[in-house]
């Protein structure tokens, strides 16, 4: 279920990219897309009835069912990268606004 939801989120992000011409909204759409993606990745690690994959004194047996921890690690990296890209994009947006005085891509002219 969560997987469908995340895919829908990704599609919303892509729809945003398709329909928006405002730079900030584009960045937001990108972010929505990334969030959907990250949710998706997290969701694939899910194991029904799985435990937190941390060895504690309560669950010493390695035969127990764990949630896959790797996607969480991946998502952390992905989020970090996403943040970096968003920051860069916002910086670019600022510069564009300085130069063209607008956030609308179509109003910026040029070829």
């Amino acid at each position: 279920m969560i997987q469908y939801f995340s895919i829908v989120l990704m599609l919303v992000g892509i729809y945003g990219l398709l329909s928006q011409r405002n730079v900030i909204k584009l960045i937001a759409a990108l972010n929505i897309f990334e969030i959907g993606l990250n949710l998706f990745i997290v969701s694939i690690g899910f194991v029904k009835d799985g435990l937190v994959p941390i060895l504690t004194s309560n669950n010493e047996s390695s035969a127990m069912l764990y949630v896959d921890p790797l996607p969480h690690a991946l998502v952390l990296t992905s989020i970090v990268i996403g943040v970096g890209v968003t920051a860069l994009a916002l910086a670019l947006a600022k510069k564009m606004h300085d130069k063209y005085g607008t956030y609308d891509m179509d109003e910026m002219g040029g070829k």
């Binding site: 892509i14 990219l17 398709l18 329909s19 928006q20 011409r21 584009l26 179509d106 040029g110």
Partner: protein, 615 residues
């Protein structure tokens, strides 16, 4: 045999000479040009000395060389043309934008030519073939048009890449590049043979400038530097004959496809592929002739005439009997000499007057009589009139065509033959005869070193017109090694399918006739010399020589008859336009810098990938 006197040595030597010429030209332009003379001369001498070594095999690294008899024939012809033209280089150094590069590329092209004709392997043939292409591709824009070079390259690349396709296809099937072996293998399998025939055939057709690939000739020949046009027209174009010869005779396609012949059981039975070649040749004759008649530019006119003559060569090779192939070889030989001489005389005219537009010239015979004679001999040969070598080849080709009863082809050939009178006469009339323009009053004869090769080529044309059997004997040997019957040569007489020709006798009788005319002329009262302007003008007074010179739109009534004919030039222009439009469309569709549109394409593409992938 030692390496010093061998084909690889000639090729390497020419490359070395090219580098030397480049360096020396930087120091002294004339010195560099001299290297082209010496280099090509030495190579010619070496190749002539190698006549005894025909069929010897040598290698240079991974490249093999085999001196076949036809390879020797072509090489000598090319070297002769390059050597003759190289004298002109001495005078052109100031007119060429990159003299050093010119000399370098001149010799590289020559090395490529020798290499291509003597390569043992197909891949070697291709490498040298392309070397010629790129060397000449850089020389052509030194002349009057940059676009000409692009056109030249595009056509040449089409031809040579077609050949590459065939070469590699056959390599993947036979596992070898050896020309002899591959063609032998190909001849045993109809599919391979067809691929070889089409691909190598296209290379030949493009190179020799046969319709519909003829467009580059007028462009490149007409606009190349004046010293390089004779090389292109007299020399490099003939490489197309070489490729066609490989495809049709050496393979031999006419035997492979013998069962797919039209008109089986008749004299004119001929395999369909050969018929296609004959057809294209016939069309080129007509197109080349008509376009040559229309040309206003001296060099373009000769270039179109090369198209027509290429048609004869292809027809000769495609008919594939000994007389026709012998005729084609002779025609290549004769036309090489004649068109080189014609272009050289054009170059001499340009050297003195600075233009090739026929309407701006006139009456130069009174200033440059020798150039005029050279041109006269060249056109007599090109029009196939005795006693020049062009007559011999045309005679052989006509014999063969009539023997086969090829009505339509012969009709085209006759048209081209008579039409050639029209176009060769035009420069004669417009450039050399008629009124001398006052601005050319002080023009002088071409300098001595330019006269040397012009006279040399003319004498050769005359020599082989009077005694063609010197060449024909060798051609006969080539035909025999290629599996055809030899020519029937008997002393001075050539025998065709339905007649005999004794060129020496014809020349002798012509000489006697001329002598009688001379006597009649001499014994009668001497004429009074009057000025050119002192002519019948219906009592009008005209003082402007240019106005009394009939040269512009010379054949206007005839041209009008076909001015609306479909034009391949326009077709190609439209094709290029379409490609450019398609390119712009791609550029604006996918590269418009609007994220949402490109994202849209991306989404479409992903959907397409998923949909297509899951089919």
């Amino acid at each position: 045999m030692d390496f010093i006197l061998s084909v690889p040595a000639i090729v390497v030597g020419l490359f070395a000479a090219a580098v030397l010429a480049y360096l020396l030209t930087k120091a002294n332009k004339i010195l560099g040009a001299l290297i082209t003379v010496l280099g090509s001369g030495a190579a010619l001498a070496a190749m002539l000395m190698l006549k005894g070594d025909i069929n010897s095999v040598q290698s240079l690294g991974a490249l093999g060389f085999k001196l076949t008899d036809y390879g020797w024939f072509f090489s000598v012809l090319m070297l002769l043309i390059f050597f003759s033209v190289s004298f002109f280089n001495l005078y052109w150094m100031k007119k060429i934008i990159h003299p050093a590069a010119y000399n370098f590329l001149y010799l590289v092209a020559l090395a490529g030519t020798v290499g291509a004709f003597t390569a043992k392997d197909f891949i070697g043939l291709f490498i040298f073939w392309e070397t010629i292409v790129w060397a000449s591709m850089f020389i052509i824009p030194f002349g009057k048009s940059r676009n000409a070079s692009v056109v030249y390259y595009a056509f040449s690349a089409f031809g040579s890449l077609s050949m590459l396709f065939g070469i590699l296809y056959l390599y993947s099937k036979t596992g070898s590049f050896d020309i002899q072996y591959v063609l032998e293998q190909a001849s045993m399998n109809t599919t391979y043979a067809l691929v070889a025939f089409i691909t190598i055939g296209i290379a030949g057709l493009v190179k020799i400038g046969v319709f519909p690939f003829h467009l580059w000739l007028p462009k490149a020949h007409g606009n190349a530097p004046d010293t390089f046009s004779p090389i292109l027209s007299g020399g490099l174009v003939k490489a197309g004959g070489f490729a066609a010869f490989l495809a049709v005779i050496v393979m031999p396609s006419y035997k492979v496809f013998a069962s797919n012949a039209l008109f089986l059981g008749r004299e004119l039975a001929m395999p369909v592929p050969n018929y296609i070649l004959v057809f294209l040749g016939a069309v080129s004759i007509v197109v080349g002739t008509l376009m040559a008649i229309k040309s206003e530019d001296f060099k373009k006119l000769i270039a179109y005439s090369s198209v027509a003559n290429g048609g004869y060569i292809i027809i000769g090779i495609a008919i594939a009997d000994s007389l026709s192939v012998g005729g084609a070889f002779m025609h290549m030989f004769a036309h090489a000499l004649a068109s080189a001489a014609a272009f050289l005389s054009a170059a001499a005219v340009v050297h003195r007057t600075g233009t090739t537009k026929m309407s701006e010239l006139g009456g130069l015979i009174h200033r440059m009589p020798l150039t005029y004679l050279v041109y006269l001999i060249a056109i007599i040969s090109m029009a196939g009139i005795p006693p020049m070598s062009g007559f011999i080849s045309k005679w052989m080709l006509f014999q063969s065509m009539i023997g086969k009863g090829m009505v339509f082809t012969a009709a085209a050939a006759f048209f081209g033959s008579i039409g050639s009178f029209l176009y060769v006469f035009r420069p004669l009339s417009a450039v050399f005869l008629g009124q001398l323009s006052p601005k050319h009053e002080s023009v002088k004869e071409a300098p001595f070193l330019m006269q040397v090769p012009m006279i040399g080529l003319s004498l050769l044309t005359l020599l082989f017109g009077v005694f063609p059997n010197i060449v024909l004997r060798f051609i006969s040997d080539i035909l025999k090694t290629a599996g055809l019957d030899g020519l029937t040569l008997n002393g001075l007489v050539i025998s065709g399918t339905n007649g005999q020709l004794n060129p020496s006798l014809v020349s002798l009788i012509f000489g006697i006739g001329f002598f009688i005319a001379l006597i009649i002329f001499i014994i009668h009262p001497k004429s009074r010399k009057v000025d050119l302007m002192d002519t019948y003008t219906a009592s009008e007074f005209i003082y402007t020589p240019e106005l009394l010179h009939y040269s512009y739109a010379f054949y206007a009534p005839f041209e009008r008859l076909y001015e609306n004919a479909p034009s391949t030039e326009k077709w190609y222009a439209a094709l290029i336009k379409k490609i450019e439009e398609a390119g712009q469309l791609v550029s604006y569709t996918f590269f418009n810098n609007k994220p949402r549109i490109i994202v849209f394409w991306m989404v479409c593409a992903v959907i397409a990938l998923l949909w297509g992938g899951s089919l």
